[in-house]
């Protein structure tokens, strides 16, 4: 298996120089792998402050990891040669949250589409460029004649966001990183934007990392999921398993809090998640201060990811009978191909583990 993009034990600490006591650990020992042979959709889900956007900025090479590495096709994005960096910037495209801020209001929307065409010399003639642009606009469900020549304020938020998806497509990327692409878009348009991302994955073979706070849309479009809590991975693996039978107490709380639109009320009673023990200090499991099943060991050290099933891993001591994912061990947590590896302590995985994980 070859990897397209990989984060290896990445930790990002903001601030915290010699004289700064306010260091913030935005992300701790985060690993993710996207397979280059099989296009997939991976969701990274977390509340505000969980480190989602830090993940996006690290993967894009926009911030330097404090520890660990981000590799693109085996090369560290921080140290890669100029030519490789240029290829990386072309192969990995990003869609940001706010479809208002990314446009310059003085330019027509064409500008965001023609700039990459000329910058990366995608077309030899004007007619060729136009055909290319029309093709990607149609791919995201926009009519070129109704979109081109307009100013950003003349398009709706949903249309503007779709132009951004079209812009990402122009460069025929290998990977699209979508950071909350639909959180500012209305319900009736949300589905069509996510639908066009899914289409890109199926028809054009583009892998997608979908970063969101919304577990329901993540479930709808992704195959694999990583649940973050305060900068650490709480649970990761196959989306069906994680959503249908959450194992980490945080994932369980998160899923029970989602208001589902149905005739049956799913919210029942008061959410009395009183912590079982009083947490002190900064070591240990980050969820311990809210966890109903916390025990004293939870306060000692951050739990490693335990592999509770072939396609899932949970960072919780409740599952310590399961094997811990060991450092350097390629263990497949994500369905089939992609791997997520992470380990802090404990036994190196047995050889048999890697075999059954490859199913």
């Amino acid at each position: 298996m070859t990897t397209l993009i990989e984060a290896r034990h990445v930790t990002k600490i903001f601030g915290g120089g010699v004289f700064d006591r306010n260091a913030t650990v935005a992300l701790e020992d985060f690993s993710i792998t996207v397979d280059s042979d099989r296009p997939s959709i991976t969701a990274v889900v977390g509340e505000s402050g969980s480190g989602k956007t830090t993940v996006a900025r690290l993967l894009l090479g926009l911030v330097t990891p404090s520890r660990g590495q981000v590799l693109y096709q085996g090369q560290d994005v921080q140290t890669m040669a100029h030519a490789d960096w240029r290829a990386f910037r072309r192969d990995v495209q990003v869609i940001f949250q706010d479809p208002y801020e990314v446009y310059n209001p003085f330019y027509r929307v064409d500008h965001v589409l023609t700039t990459p065409v000329s910058k990366f010399k995608l077309a030899a003639t004007k007619a060729e460029a136009r055909a290319l642009i029309e093709d990607v606009l149609e791919a995201v469900g926009l009519r070129p004649e109704e979109t081109l020549g307009r100013f950003p304020h003349q398009l709706s938020g949903g249309q503007r966001q779709r132009v951004m998806v079209a812009r990402a497509l122009l460069l025929r990327p290998r990977l699209i990183l979508a950071d909350e692409p639909v959180s500012m878009v209305d319900a009736s348009l949300r589905a069509s934007i996510l639908g066009s991302l899914r289409k890109m994955n199926l028809e054009r073979g583009i892998s997608i990392i979908y970063i969101t706070h919304d577990l329901a849309t993540a479930y709808q479009i992704s195959e694999n999921i990583v649940v973050l809590y305060r900068g650490s991975v709480a649970e990761a693996g196959d989306v069906e398993l994680v959503v249908k039978q959450p194992q980490h107490p945080y994932t369980q709380l998160l899923i029970s809090s989602i208001p589902l639109a149905s005739a049956e009320r799913t919210w029942s009673g008061e959410s009395a998640s009183a912590p079982a023990i009083q947490a002190t200090g900064a070591t240990g499991c980050k969820f311990a201060d809210r966890c109903p099943s916390a025990t004293p060991p939870c306060l000692q050290a951050l739990p490693p990811l335990y592999q509770t099933a072939p396609h899932r891993a949970v960072a919780c001591y409740l599952y310590q009978s399961a094997p811990a994912l060991a450092t350097g061990e390629m263990v497949s947590v994500f369905t089939g191909q992609a791997t997520l590896k992470k380990g802090i302590s404990g036994q190196p995985g047995s050889p048999g583990e890697a075999q059954h994980a490859g199913v």
Binding site: E47, S48, S156, G157, G158, Q159, D186, A187, S188, L189, R190, A191, S192, I193, L194, G195, H213, D214, L215, A216, T217, Y219, Q220, V243, L253, L254, I255, S257, I258, P259, L260, A261, S262, A263, R265, T266, W267, E270, S271
Partner: protein
């Protein structure tokens, strides 16, 4: 049968812009029973916040309430003087506005902000009485008494939102209008804030109008649900019926846009775009996006009619 606390009749709000009148609310009528929870959902620009503000007569120019009556306990608040209306707000109808947690005064302690509201509405109390009242209010929204002496920046988003609920209920209003009270909060905190609101509503015996764009969230909380589209109320039905047998095609399609956690692939968009409120299509505003539109929909504006007992929708297909 409980009596009506609030009755809105033919409410019409336009924003006058150089490009023409933006019809943000058109011919809106509904009633709210004692202790009832009514939800108003719609996409952005459907007029739901305008409607909430219009009930309190808080529309600012270039907006204007063009027509309509709002009856509160047998009194049409549209006929009150500005000063009388000011006394009605908070005391009889309280509002928890959108993003209200960011509207707390950053340089005033929470206690001072609650006391300010009480004093402005003519409540005369000694310092000790104020402290006691504030402590009770904070307790009823699940906050510790220490919060009284804190500044807003010392509180989390959920705590700030609860402090806003405490201010809203400080004069025991009959009606609470909550406009997106949990937007920008995480789901876990969102659930806790909504439970707080439910608890104070039961304790006060107040009625609540909950305005929101998240149909799932609103559905968890309300008894009856109103759906707005392009400045009009297109359906009002008991919440269970809205999901099992929606009357208006827009409601049906809107429900289909909600991602489910039960089953994959149950998630579709609505083709087309919402219309511009200053340039509405003739007839039913939804007809360009409606898969069931017939000729009549293109020419004649549908009005709310009772499709089933207690369920109303504005659609020609019902007649």
């Amino acid at each position: 049968m409980k009596p009506d606390v609030l009755r809105v009749r033919g409410l019409q709000v336009y924003y006058h812009t150089p490009l023409g009148a933006v019809k943000a609310a058109e011919d809106i009528s509904f009633s709210l029973k004692a202790e009832e929870r009514l939800g108003l959902v719609g996409e952005s620009g459907s007029g739901k916040s305008t409607l909430a503000l219009a009930i309190l007569r808080m529309i600012k120019p270039p907006g204007r309430i063009e027509a309509g009556e709002v009856w509160l306990d047998g009194q049409n608040v549209m006929t009150l003087s500005e000063e009388e209306m000011r006394q009605v707000r908070l005391a009889r109808i309280a509002m928890i506005p959108q993003g209200s947690m960011n509207s707390l005064n950053p340089v005033m302690r929470i206690q001072a902000q609650i006391a300010d509201a009480l004093r402005d509405h003519g409540v005369r109390m000694t310092k000790r009485q104020v402290e006691e009242r504030v402590r009770d209010l904070l307790q009823s929204v699940g906050l510790k008494p220490e919060v009284a002496t804190m500044f807003p920046h010392e509180l989390s988003g959920g705590m700030k939102q609860r402090a806003c609920i405490a201010i809203a209920i400080s004069l025991r209003p009959k009606v609470i209008i909550a406009d997106e009270p949990t937007s920008a909060l995480d789901v876990v905190v969102q659930k806790q804030v909504m439970e707080t609101l439910a608890r104070v509503q039961r304790a006060l015996g107040a009625s609540v109008i909950l305005v929101g764009h998240d149909m799932g969230l609103v559905a968890q909380f309300v008894d009856r649900l109103g759906v707005m589209y392009a400045g009009k109320l297109v359906e009002v039905s008991p919440v269970r019926d809205v999901f099992t047998k929606p009357l208006h095609p827009y409601t049906t399609l809107l429900i289909a846009t909600l991602p489910s956690l039960e089953q994959k692939g149950t998630f579709a968009g609505i083709p087309g775009l919402p219309p511009l409120l200053r340039d509405l299509p003739p007839g039913c505003a939804f007809h360009p996006r409606c898969p069931y539109a017939v000729d009549r929909c293109r020419t004649e504006v549908p009005h709310l009619m009772e499709g089933r007992p207690d369920s109303w929708a504005a659609c020609h297909l019902l007649s």
